[in-house]
Symmetry: C2
Subunit: 228 residues, 2 copies
């Protein structure tokens, strides 16, 4: 059986924008592993029943099915120990995706969420708007109304990244590892859905993101996205 990665897409199946799917996609590339993109849309939970999961990414690798981006990273290191390590056996590296989820993504969604429905088909757009507006208790346009004013606050949240990037090219050191992919997924999510320019040109995080976009032959650069 071929290797497959179920990834969230928009109306255009080339528009892949989940931060968690980008983590998994970059992790596969880090390992030098090919995987077919299986496009998946928000309302297609039935199509993931085989994985006993309701969200992507889901990796199908031969007869193994692995759901959840962190579990996929751990699986890849366990299944392919002779290829470059993602996690180095350091369970505490999970702190980086945990921070990206609870801090970075929580701030980003309030900056970009209103840009997402136009990229979805009619059914997914209605589902997305209804579920997210219930979560926020306001329209998506109200959530992002003052987003330009909140950019400095967002950029301040990136301070821990700048500590590392002041002395090394990647969070992983001279070469990237899963810490890089975990954070990059969040910025790539934003880049794939929103024209909002999150990063200032002279920010070390901006230069790092450019290096990330160059990896693996421009894997993440050469997709439908905004210039960022």
């Amino acid at each position: 059986m071929a290797r497959q990665l179920y990834e969230l897409v928009g109306a255009d199946p080339a528009r892949r924008f989940s931060p968690f799917c980008w983590r998994a996609r970059m992790a596969l590339a880090h390992k030098g592993l090919e995987a077919e993109v299986v496009p998946w849309r928000f309302t297609e939970t039935d199509r993931l029943a085989f994985a006993r999961h309701d969200k992507v990414p889901v990796l199908v690798d031969g007869d193994r099915v692995v759901a959840d981006s962190w579990a996929i990273a751990a699986y890849l290191d366990q299944a392919y120990p002779d290829r470059p390590s993602l996690l180095h056996g350091a369970a505490a590296l999970r702190f980086v995706p945990a921070w990206a989820d609870t801090v970075l993504n929580a701030a980003l969604v309030r900056l970009i969420v209103s840009d997402i429905p136009p990229l979805l088909g009619p059914g997914e757009a209605a589902y997305f708007r209804t579920s997210r507006e219930a979560r926020f208790g306001m329209t998506l346009e109200a959530v992002t109304a003052d987003r330009e004013a909140r950019l400095p606050g967002f950029r301040a949240l990136l301070a821990p990244l700048r500590v590392l990037l002041g002395g090394q090219a990647f969070l992983g050191g001279a070469a990237p590892d899963y810490a890089d992919y975990a954070v990059f997924g969040s910025l790539q999510w934003a880049r794939c859905v929103s024209p909002l320019r999150l990063l200032e040109q002279d920010d070390a995080v901006h230069a790092w993101r450019a290096r990330m976009l160059d990896l693996f032959g421009g894997l993440a650069r050469d997709v439908p996205c905004f210039p960022g």
Copy 2:
């Protein structure tokens, strides 16, 4: 030459309260290495001239002198590779102390800074008050005046820790590693200088801190501190 760790102390030389020194002290214990405490106070920069550095911790290990808590952790793994690893060769683990410095310590100092001068001798207390009041642009008592109201905001910052501690005993997994010591240093700093109860009893971070205090025969528990 015996192994020595220069550590910040108060008027009472047993009152050791630097978050960075606690990181180094716990890292040494993790490696099973003894080190004499060399008490150091804020105004004694001359005594660190030999290390070409103006802050503690400074580790003297035979003829090696290593300043800075992160450099000490990296040195210990390099010099003692056969003992339990602190960093697993994962440079990205530095994200954890970087987060502790820029987020956790930055919030903590605004909760506890006014509790520090009474623990210092007269000369250090004057230095500390003058330098910190200049930094904050107000009296230390004004900095912490509304601290009870800011505790919920502080506790919310700990969200990434709870993601990991929901599924494992330590940030490092089943056993602690440098990620644990990096964060613990911040909470131990607060515990050693302030009666403010930072953590709620039912918080997974509180239970984790109790496990940290139990490590190495109660190394961090059995020192002059507040109950926390």
